[in-house]
């Protein structure tokens, strides 16, 4: 089995983001960047399948500026075999990303594509489902457990009501939830070894797909601030405030 894992470079989840004063976006200069958290789960799951002998090759793919390559390098350090970096200096919407990934899938012919279920920057939660649609493949979204059974894969999905289990035919798209596994850290020797693994570079605009954005971002602003709260000194005071001041109980 061959697996593609799509990874995205985003502002680190621990960074308190700052909105630019001119309303054009979020400040990403001199800000810590890292792999989108559920994408780490996507890599980990692929590596586990390889370790169990079920997968032969893992290809890590990213789309983004020059530095986006770091996310591919990190995937190589935890077990991916080779990388593909599709260069683009501009933001591409999930629909455009899905079209680019479709091109790569048609060329590489994997049996499975793993993606994180949602990127923590634009919070769209679309790319995996869109890629599945464009390929006509089934989708196992928000996966917290998967079990590979020959030509099918059983996916346990995190849904609002609890858990749902489905069976999907291969080839398939899986979007990963944070609870799917515990991503490992790369060891120093593996980081060194990853430097020698190949990364193919392509340009997004050379792929012959329509990646023109359809959505204009008119303004980015800070959400309304909450008014400052108070500290109470006892449980009795808290209950009294909730009853008599906030009038919520």
């Amino acid at each position: 089995m061959k697996i593609i894992v799509a990874v995205k470079r985003v502002i680190d989840y621990n960074v308190q983001i700052r909105v630019k004063e001119d309303g054009s976006g979020v400040n990403s200069d001199n800000v810590k960047m890292s792999t989108n958290p559920p994408d780490d789960n996507a890599i980990e799951e692929a590596v586990k399948l390889k370790e169990s002998g079920k997968a032969k090759e893992i290809v890590a793919v990213t789309i983004g500026d020059e530095k986006a390559q770091e996310t591919v390098r990190k995937a190589l350090a935890v077990g991916a075999d080779r990388g593909i970096h599709i260069k683009s200096d501009n933001y591409i919407e999930p629909l455009g990303i899905a079209k680019i990934l479709k091109k790569i899938v048609e060329k590489e012919k994997p049996d499975l594509v793993f993606l994180g279920k949602q990127a923590i920057d634009d919070d769209c939660n679309q790319t995996g489902q869109m890629l599945a649609a464009l390929l006509g493949w089934p989708q196992g979204t928000f996966a917290s457990k998967i079990e590979h059974k020959d030509k099918i894969i059983e996916v346990t999905r995190e849904v609002d009501e609890g858990l749902e289990t489905i069976e999907i035919n291969l080839p398939a798209i899986i979007t990963c939830d944070l609870r799917l596994n515990e991503p490992r850290f790369a060891s120093l020797p593996n980081i060194m070894k990853a430097r020698k693994k190949p990364i193919e570079q392509l340009n997004a605009k050379d792929l012959g797909v329509d990646i023109l954005n359809r959505i204009q971002q008119l303004k980015v602003e800070e959400p309304p601030k909450r008014k400052n709260g108070i500290k109470v000194s006892s449980v009795a005071e808290l209950v009294s405030k909730l009853k008599n001041e906030a009038k919520v109980i």
């Binding site: 999930p94 679309q126 464009l134 359809r214 971002q217 909730l242």
Partner: protein, 317 residues
């Protein structure tokens, strides 16, 4: 041109968040048609037809739609979508799973998690876990939109009499199969719609200790929530998770117990009307958004809290 709204239901009853999505849709256009696709779901179609904001119900019954697999529903929606400008669903796991599949095949760039409608083309949506709001304008002819249900009121349910049109099922691709659903049954109000939510975090130290939270929830008729840390530690099921990747809740009162306040948790609850934080670490970030903060050991504070509630003559339900 009318709006096509995708109803979420369980073949017997409409899920309430569909009503919030209907309210959002009504801010785009008054001509709202609702698609009810399922198996033996005629009751749901009837239920939707009494919503005054709904003009027409499209209803389709087929065993292929019984479990709402995105692979099976998408061809149907694509076919029905021809005469509509906007396709709308609620942004819970049903809509999140289904809508991008539809959107991609319509070659339309989806707008996820809309919290305000400015015009039929312009929308407000949160990004970066709600730490920024983006105003966006869609240039697609057909717009696929998911609505954050808690940002809109539920549409009134009675008094309407929309026409019900039965439509044909379409072919399905047979590439996916439903196996089972494990739903957590609870006597308490649903987390997404409860007026009061009390949540526990890693500070609870065990699943057993959640009984302290539960007894207060019972007293206040509140739903029980949790931080990701508590869910990951196995204290409580994933369906209780509040946060960026869990549920977004906007109750009148949110009580965070033993929760430090990671960005991703705040994303799920910081729009709550009143926030209470109980934490022994006075520096915990949760205090920065709390209306009432109590710096205390939760194992002492929670039993006292229950005692104080028991002393009250009346409690709002």
């Amino acid at each position: 041109m009318p709006i096509l709204l995708l109803a979420e239901h369980n073949n017997s009853n409409l899920k309430v968040f569909t009503l919030n999505a209907i309210t959002a849709a009504s801010k785009i256009d008054q001509d709202i048609h609702v698609l009810v696709a399922g198996n033996k779901c005629e009751n749901v179609a009837k239920e939707v037809s009494t919503v005054p904001l709904v003009k027409k119900v499209l209803y389709v019954d087929s065993p292929s739609y019984e479990n709402f697999l995105a692979e099976n529903l998408t061809p149907l929606i694509i076919k029905v979508s021809e005469s509509y400008t906007h396709i709308i669903a609620s942004a819970n796991t049903f809509g999140k799973n289904l809508m991008p599949r539809v959107s991609a095949l319509l070659d339309s760039s989806q707008i996820s998690d809309v919290i305000r409608i400015n015009s039929p083309e312009e929308f407000l949506r949160p990004i970066y876990a709600g730490n920024a709001f983006a105003t966006v304008k869609s240039n697609d002819k057909k717009k696929c939109i998911t609505i954050r249900p808690t940002s809109f009121d539920a549409a009134p349910k009675s008094g309407g009499s929309a026409s019900i049109e039965k439509i044909e099922a379409t072919d399905i691709p047979s590439i996916s199969k439903f196996i089972k659903r494990e739903e957590t049954k609870s006597e308490r109000p649903e987390l997404g719609t409860a007026r009061i939510v009390i949540s526990g975090g890693r500070g609870m130290q065990s699943g057993e200790n959640f009984k302290l939270i539960n007894s207060i929830a019972d007293k206040l008729n509140a739903a029980v929530g949790a931080s990701r840390a508590a869910v990951d530690a196995g204290y409580i099921g994933n369906d209780h998770q509040v946060g960026q990747t869990g549920k977004v809740v906007v109750p009148d009162l949110y009580i965070a117990v033993g929760i430090s306040g990671a960005i991703q948790h705040l994303a799920g609850m910081k729009e709550s009307k009143i926030i209470v934080a109980i934490n022994k670490d006075g520096e915990a970030p949760i205090f920065s958004i709390a209306d009432y903060g109590l710096e205390a050991d939760l194992f002492e504070a929670l039993p006292q809290f229950l005692d104080e509630l028991n002393k009250l003559n009346t409690i709002q339900k």
